[in-house]
């Protein structure tokens, strides 16, 4: 037929090389043709395009397929034949326009044709080893193959075939003793092809293996498969016209997905009607799986989704969950096998369960994200914000529901697989809603959730709150532990990192400081966090701040100061905590927005500042008293505190304190004079402490700390004026127990902060007057130096013993070299 014509024509008209290629091609392309034809259900026009294409390749015309058409029309030998067919084909297209089904077919066909053409081209070029052209063709091919998803079909078998052919060509080319040298651009192209093919082969390894095993059968497999759905389709549509109608609409909508100038709201209307019509679970699920994403698409460009639209989406997802919960023999999973035709119901597996491709997880995630972006858009101090916030509970309910659903279809062993990934995502979102809450609130929301859900539902990962089970903090600890444990098992490190940070945040926020601290230390996140993505960094900062505040509440002042230091003194505080953007940034990029957290999740910055400066005061003031000479200061523990204090001291008038910071600075001044009563009064009158839920206890703790630090300051400043100090006297001055005074003083002696000794029978602290003159500056520096050197030596020692592994080779070579040098001498 036409093929015969073409080839003969080619062989007549082309050079020797081309002759070879085309005759070879005759063999190979006839194969491919068989594949094409069958896969396209043998439409005649297809064949013609093919031949047309062949001709082009023979003449070495390099352009894309549209041009090929043109060229083919003008120059091709089968010009007439083709035109007839083409016009005929076009007619049939226009004829069938009224029938939407036809349209779908031809779009898909066109796509497959395109691929077939490209594959042929590549095949041809690979014969002549024209690598430069192969590169461009292969690029096009890969691009169009990626589109295969749009047509709801699998990766075309032809593509697999071309991969195999290319791989062969490359290997044979390399095996050959290359006589003709490639010029630079050619060899470059060759390399590019090599790499791309390698990569593609990796992706489709199993298919390629199949093809290699038996190319013929593989291709014929392609011809068999599309036919079966046709049969079922017809038989089904005969028995169930309602379903056919639904799928006609669904198809036409799928067809337009991602295209411009499509009226999405009209489509939504159509689909909503369908939800009323559809009766069979398979139909309903299919409709919902399409409807919800379109709802989201409608507002993808807007800043947020309007409230009622959001509610519709929520309702639809819930409806979908209803269907799925009622019909346990249908499963929606991301890992289900993709189908060529949406109309075919997937085969039931051994348990009679049919798997549909789709993702509840991403729908729920999207819904939650839309809520967040809406919250971000609303003024947080308005009533609207509060009322919108109420929707959080319905999202949370949905999340729990989705989690329970996934738990029912995913077994414990599958957690680390892509299937388990969906469950992990849902759990991560769920954690996202509870990790920043106090345990009482978590219990409250758990209660509402399980009340709303059906009674028979329960989560195997962590059972719902019952009377007999653990209560209070114990329950929430268990809940967070169980949820995080699932995430820890994930192969994806982002899940694990996020989970551990949520975990730390939760424990820190709920006053379980040591647990949180150990987790942070064991996670080793500090070392790598600066390379993580911004969202994770923000979460890390938040956890760190909570940890610091938690330490502060426990009275661990040093630790609190250390963890809060970096964030509290940063000028970009808000940005670091995801609570605002930098002022000078004019345009917010999408990434910047993602970093932001809605207002109700914010850490109170004033509280943070207050805790930090109070902690700094407690550590810094005694130090200042100890070394009044600033030049001799050992380490500036907190420069920012000192700066603020100095600024305060420069003020001519001391007004009554207004801001938190004023209170603290005045308290610091009082503390410097060892006036703990005034300091404690000032600190305790700071109102913001009331934000901590046990503020009275914290105030009492602060007072005791102030007393002790005042005692220390007193000793430092007055050391030189006394020879003896009665412990009981000190105890009355600072209203501390003698026991505490004694241990504080002894500690100072032991740390060589003061030169004194304790006289136990007389209960007196005897300050030793140093009889020798104080060390000169030089001597002191020398002492310091020796101390520092000592530290270096010790550190090196530790390194050499274990931590640092000198490469073994060098270790072995080294003595030899030493020998060599020595003998030369």
């Amino acid at each position: 037929m036409s093929r015969f014509f073409t080839t003969t024509y080619d062989s007549e008209d082309s050079s020797d090389e081309e002759l070879l290629s085309s005759s070879e091609e005759l063999l190979s392309s006839s194969e491919s043709e068989a594949g094409d034809v069958s896969s396209e259900e043998g439409s005649p026009e297809e064949e013609d395009d093919e031949s047309d294409e062949d001709w082009d390749s023979g003449s070495g015309l390099d352009s894309d397929s549209d041009d090929d058409y043109q060229a083919g029309k003008v120059r091709g030998p089968s010009y007439f034949l083709k035109k007839d067919f083409k016009s005929g084909g076009g007619d049939s297209d226009s004829d069938s326009d009224g029938e939407e089904k036809r349209v779908v077919k031809s779009a898909k066909e066109k796509y497959l044709e395109e691929i077939a053409n490209l594959v042929d081209q590549i095949e041809n070029y690979s014969m002549v080893e024209d690598w430069i052209k192969i590169v461009s063709e292969f690029d096009k091919l890969s691009k169009s193959v990626q589109k295969s998803g749009q047509f709801q079909i699998r990766v075309p078998r032809l593509y697999i075939k071309s991969l195999a052919i290319l791989e062969d060509a490359i290997t044979s080319f390399q095996d050959k003793d290359v006589k003709k040298k490639l010029n630079s651009s050619e060899s470059k192209a060759l390399n590019v092809v090599k790499q791309r093919v390698k990569k593609a082969i990796k992706d489709y390894q199993s298919e390629i293996d199949q093809y290699r095993k038996n190319p013929e059968a593989y291709e014929s497999g392609a011809s068999v498969e599309p036919e079966t759905p046709v049969q079922t389709e017809t038989s089904k549509s005969a028995q169930d016209s309602e379903g056919a109608g639904i799928f006609t609409i669904l198809r036409s909508i799928i067809e337009t997905r991602g295209k411009k100038n499509v009226d999405l709201s009209e489509q939504i209307g159509q689909l909503e009607e369908l939800t009323q019509l559809a009766k069979k679970p398979f139909h309903l699920i299919s409709v919902y799986l399409l409807l919800v994403p379109i709802r989201f698409d409608l507002y993808s460009k807007a800043a947020f989704m309007p409230l009622e639209q959001w509610r519709f989406a929520l309702r639809d997802i819930n409806a979908l969950m209803d269907v799925l919960e009622k019909n346990r023999n249908y499963i929606v999973s991301e890992t289900a096998a993709p189908v060529d035709d949406i109309e075919t119901e997937p085969e039931a597996d051994a348990n009679g369960v049919r798997q549909l491709i789709g993702s509840i997880a991403s729908l729920v995630e999207r819904l939650a994200d839309e809520l967040t972006s809406h919250l971000l858009a609303i003024d947080p101090h308005s009533t609207e914000y509060v009322s919108r916030l109420r929707d959080e509970s319905s999202v949370y309910t949905l999340l729990v529901r989705a989690q329970v659903y996934y738990e029912s279809i995913i077994s414990r062993e599958d957690l680390a697989t892509p299937k388990g990934d969906q469950l992990a995502r849902v759990i991560l979102k769920r954690l996202d809603y509870i990790y920043f809450k106090p345990s009482k609130l978590i219990i409250f929301s758990e209660n509402t959730v399980w009340k709303k859900l059906e009674e028979s539902l329960d989560s195997p990962i962590y059972s719902k709150l019952t009377e007999s089970g653990p209560q209070g903090v114990e329950y929430t600890n268990g809940l967070i532990d169980a949820l995080c444990l699932v995430l820890y098992e994930q192969p994806n490190s982002v899940f694990r990192k996020k989970a551990v940070l949520y975990h730390i945040y939760y424990y820190a926020f709920n006053d379980q400081y040591f647990k949180a601290r150990d987790m942070l230390l064991l996670s080793h996140l500090q070392a790598t966090i600066h390379t993580a993505d911004p969202q994770l960094q923000v979460l890390f900062n938040r956890s760190l701040v909570q940890l610091g505040l938690s330490a502060f509440r426990c009275g661990l002042i040093q630790e609190a100061q250390q963890s809060l230091y970096e964030i509290a003194t940063s000028p970009r505080q808000k940005e670091l905590l995801g609570q605002g953007v930098q002022r000078f940034q004019l345009q917010q990029s999408q990434v910047d927005k993602q970093r932001l957290l809605p207002f109700h999740m914010h850490v109170n910055l004033e509280l943070l500042e207050c805790a930090f400066y109070t902690a700094s005061m407690l550590t810094e003031v005694p130090l200042m008293a100890q070394n009044p000479d600033f030049a001799k200061r050992r380490v500036a523990v907190s420069k920012s505190f000192k700066r603020v204090l100095e600024y305060h001291e420069r003020q001519i008038f001391d007004g009554p304190p207004e801001y938190t910071r004023d209170y603290i600075m005045l308290a610091a001044k009082a503390l410097l004079k060892s006036d703990w009563q005034k300091a404690s009064k000032l600190i305790n009158s700071i109102k913001i402490w009331d934000l901590f839920n046990n503020s009275d206890k914290i105030k009492a703790m602060l007072q005791e700390k102030l007393q002790i630090e005042a005692l220390r300051t007193y000793l430092f400043t007055n050391e030189s004026f006394f020879t003896k100090l009665s412990i009981s006297n000190l105890a009355t001055i600072f209203q501390l127990e003698e026991r505490v005074v004694k241990s504080t003083v002894l500690k100072m002696i032991s740390n060589e902060e003061i030169t004194a000794l304790y006289n136990q029978p007389a209960n007196i602290l005897e300050l030793v007057e140093s009889n020798k003159p104080k060390a000169s500056k030089l001597q002191e520096l020398a002492l310091n130096l020796s101390e520092k050197v000592n530290q270096i030596v010790e550190r090196n020692e530790r390194l050499s013993l274990g931590g640092f592994q000198y490469p073994l080779e060098k270790k072995q070579n080294r003595p030899e070299r030493a020998n060599g040098v020595a003998t030369k001498q």
Partner: protein
């Protein structure tokens, strides 16, 4: 072991309470083998009634195959009662299994023990396997029987035979997992039969596997194995010569210290004991690491020993010392491991630490108070420290003069040269031997 416990004087009610409070046996149970727990439980007879101890022993061992022993215990506990029926069945089953395994392995063992086989075996495992399977039909199944029988014998309480069998198995098997488990079995057998040097060898083998950089299991698995290893090692370290030194080295190595902190903080007690018993010149440096470790774990684990360290080096609440010292004494007498040591010596060392701290901080202290601190009425104070000067009911302490600045700098830096050389040796393997040799040649 039993001798010591019987020798112990009766404890007062108060002391028993202390001992019970700080008894670590429940914590140890999850990290030791049944057979190894037995001596620990046996040791509890000073603080619990013998009836309680016996019932614990019965519960502990009723799952093992030591039928005779279980019978005895049962008779003691429930005199006049019949043995449960399932027990008799089990006894029969054990008997049968024993006969089967015995028959199956006797041939193999005979071959292995025969002289010409012994001579023809080499270092090479693959060669040995080939040789045995070719000439004596000892294949993998036969070798596996050795493992099974070894495990069985261990379960029956015949540790010497078990250790032998497991050793034979290990020499021939190439199954890594079973080899590891055979090593665990062997170390337990060696510990129970008190052959400490063999046990130490096994311990090192285990360490090699667990600490291997390419350890096959998960990190959690590694952590668990280390925890087990730590608990097993206590038996060995507290019984062999210089064991405490090795204990300090092992437990202070970073991976084991973090294991202790992560999963078994109570081991700190033994670390503290080991540090206290170590030589004075080593003690200072070790104390620093120890104090840090104790401080970190303070919120999670406290016992008399950690309290002692806290008081002496962290919070200086010396008023609490008398009570803590009393507890230290009781615990060191009762604790299974510590009581193996020379407790008097240990206690003296602890007192030494107290005196050291007192000497550093006090100028004058009453004799009475000092005696309370160290919980020792009869102490001859004059002999304790050279800078303690007893005058009537007071002790004057002359503080150590800190020398001139020059002296101080000298003191601090004088060891540097030596240390640096040592450092080079450690890091680059240039030892003095290598340095000298060529020069001699030249």
């Amino acid at each position: 072991m039993t001798e010591q416990t019987t020798q112990q004087p009766k404890l007062t009610a108060e002391q028993i309470e202390i001992a019970q409070k700080y008894d670590l046996t429940p914590k140890f149970i999850q990290f030791l083998d049944r057979h190894l727990i037995y001596p620990l439980v046996e040791n509890l007879d000073s603080i619990y009634t013998s009836k309680e101890v016996e019932s614990m022993e019965y519960d502990l061992l009723k799952e093992t195959y030591m039928t005779k022993f279980i019978k005895e215990k049962f008779d003691h506990l429930y005199p006049g009662k019949e043995l449960p029926a399932e027990f008799i069945e089990k006894e029969k089953a054990i008997e049968q299994e024993f006969n089967e395994l015995d028959k199956a392995t006797s041939k193999t063992l005979e071959i292995l023990a025969s002289k010409d086989v012994q001579e023809s075996l080499k270092q090479d495992k693959t060669y040995n396997r080939e040789y045995l399977s070719k000439n004596h039909q000892i294949d993998d199944a036969k070798i596996l029987e050795l493992y099974k029988f070894g495990k069985f014998q261990y379960n029956r309480g015949d540790y010497v035979v078990a250790s032998d069998l497991l050793n034979n198995f290990r020499l021939l098997s190439v199954n890594q997992d079973l080899n590891l488990s055979a090593t665990w079995g062997k170390i337990s057998s060696e510990i129970i039969t008190e052959s400490w040097s063999d046990a130490l060898e096994e311990l090192n083998k285990l360490r090699e596997i667990i600490d291997n950089r390419h350890f096959k299991g998960t990190t959690l698995d590694q952590l668990n194995k280390r925890t087990w290893l730590i608990h097993f090692s206590l038996f060995i370290f507290f019984n062999s010569e210089n064991g405490l030194e090795s204990l300090v080295d092992l437990f202070f190595s970073s991976s084991y210290l973090s294991t202790i902190q992560a999963s078994c903080p109570w081991i700190l007690r033994y670390l503290i004991v080991a540090v206290i018993s170590s030589k004075p010149q080593l003690r200072q440096k070790r104390l620093r690491d120890l104090i840090r470790a104790v401080q970190i774990e303070d919120y999670e684990y406290q016992d008399p020993f950690t309290n002692l360290i806290q008081i002496l080096y962290v919070n200086y609440e010396l008023d609490r010392l008398p009570a803590v010292m009393k507890q230290v004494k009781v615990v060191s007498d009762v604790d299974f491991f510590i009581s193996h040591l020379n407790t008097a010596e240990l206690y003296k060392n602890a007192q030494g630490l107290v005196l050291e701290t007192v000497g550093k901080l006090y100028k004058v202290v009453s004799t009475e108070q000092l005696k309370e601190f160290i919980n020792d009425e009869s102490l001859e104070l004059t002999s304790t420290k050279e800078n303690f000067d007893v005058q009537g009911d007071k002790v004057l302490i002359s503080s150590a003069e800190s020398g001139s600045v020059y002296q101080q700098v000298y003191e601090k830096t004088k060891a540097f040269n030596f240390k640096t050389n040592q450092l080079l040796n450690n890091a680059f393997g240039i030892n003095s031997h290598n340095h000298k040799q060529p020069t001699q040649e030249a």
